[in-house]
Symmetry: C2
Subunit: 145 residues, 2 copies
């Protein structure tokens, strides 16, 4: 099992340093069925606000041996969470937080880039040591507009 | 780690009994980058043909403790494989094979049903003991047509 929450504190602090107010940590994503909700609740998202903007952040360290295995999991989770948010917390945008090192090493690959664009995955890139957000990446996919 | 290939032989036999010729087992999905390809190759898809129809089948047992965790993984994998197939083996359709029991227990849930429809995931439902395919489910999502 990958070290899921490895960068949790780093991302939380980076968000605060970027002017975000942490409103829920963990932010629990739930939908109807209790049995599914318990499992979903095991993942720890962070919810934050800045002015009128509301976001939820899924953090993936990608520190396990297989990047692609963890990417599958991150992608599936992201799509599930987004599906739920669109029905329960409609003005909150979801971001996948990825460290700068992982972003530079893996995200230029055609498959990863293709999936990110096709599925309109919004990214928050951060430097863990500096606890700093370096980039927000929003996709421009027609499917989601 | 879930028992990934638990129903592999059952699905293979069910396909054969349904008149499919197994052409690749495992069927390796690869795309450009070698490092990603090695990881992708660890998953074992089955490729089959029947007349002019060509399919690839991803098998998920959903026998781990957390259905939703395995569903995230299955969904991410399916989308990745489909993305690659559309660029490398364009007339081959991808199906996710799910046992009848799992299908009846989990797939009626709104979240699962919603994701399956939204992402246009095609399903092959089978009975493992009988080694029999009971249903092919194709989605009618405008995104993929």
């Amino acid at each position: 099992m990958p070290a899921k929450d490895y960068f949790h504190e780093e991302v939380r602090e980076a968000l605060q340093r970027d002017g975000w107010k942490i409103t829920h940590d963990p932010y629990k994503v739930e939908y109807e069925d209790i049995r599914l909700a318990i499992d979903l609740g095991a993942e720890k998202l962070i919810a934050a606000e800045k002015g009128k903007k509301k976001i939820a952040v899924e953090i993936k360290s990608f520190l396990s041996k297989s990047f692609i295995y963890e990417f599958h999991e991150a992608l599936g989770q992201f799509l599930n969470y987004r599906w739920i948010l669109r029905r329960t917390d409609t003005d909150r945008e979801l971001f996948l937080a990825v460290s700068q090192d992982v972003y530079e090493e893996f995200f230029p690959h055609a498959l990863v880039q293709g999936m990110i664009e096709e599925e309109n995955i919004q990214l928050l890139i951060f430097k863990p040591n500096e606890k700093e957000i370096t980039k927000w990446i929003k996709q421009q996919n027609i499917k989601d507009t």
